[in-house]
Subunit: 107 residues, 2 copies
DNA sequence: ATTATATGTTACATAAAGTAACTAGATTAT
DNA sequence: ATAATCTAGTTACTTTATGTAACATATAAT
């Protein structure tokens, strides 16, 4: 009997996207480079601790780069790489799905 | 100043996909209905506890249905709804991204 | 020296996931 | 009748991930 199994690359992709906040961080950065404080405002329920963790992991995986501008006060921007930008079609499809199938609770 | 913010439906979509194992479970079910033990074999590192939790949540969200066949021994199948099947394009794009950008460690 | 600002870090608390043993209900074997 | 088997979970307990709020560091302006 042939056993169905998942693609290992797909599994690795979901080690990333299957973590809380990651999909929101990357989508925010598709809009353009952003700094730490800006991301914190865009995703207010995410703690600074987790944002720092995610930035480190995304940088390690080559999905974002950290750019330091020694102004005053210092400005640090996080920017998607080609690998990161290449996630846009996938995240756009999730957006489409959400618009078609998610109903918001009435306020 | 206009503040960039994320689509609430997209955020809800990632409350789902941003949980460990969810993306793998749904992708497996796109292949056809499957039972508890089959999923456990397809995703061997996932515990039965979490699989039971995910099945309950996915059913609550209307993404899967649980079908009971009173054979002997009992057979229970989990099957994607239209809402669940509609995730296929998104997961296919993640698959494409993974094939283009994820390199596997050499064995 | 004091203040201000951005970018984080740290210590501690709670929630989520992992592990391994166990349960329930329905056959089937002894 | 009792024990063994099978699927589909559950339970008690441990470990990991995330949340919270206070603190640290670097730079420059006052």
């Amino acid at each position: 009997m042939i056993k169905f199994s998942l693609c290992p690359r797909y599994e690795i992709a979901f080690e990333l996207l299957g973590k809380k906040w990651t999909g929101l961080i990357i989508r925010s950065l598709l809009d353009g480079p952003k700094r730490f404080s800006a991301l914190s405002e865009i995703i207010p329920h995410m703690s600074a601790k987790v944002l720092a963790d995610r930035f480190k992991e995304l940088e390690r995986l080559g999905i974002i780069v950290r750019n330091v501008y020694p102004e005053t006060p210092v400005r640090i921007e996080y920017c998607l790489t080609e690998k990161g930008k290449a996630l846009q079609p996938a995240l756009d499809e999730i957006q489409k799905w959400a618009e078609n199938w998610i109903t918001l609770d009435p306020p």
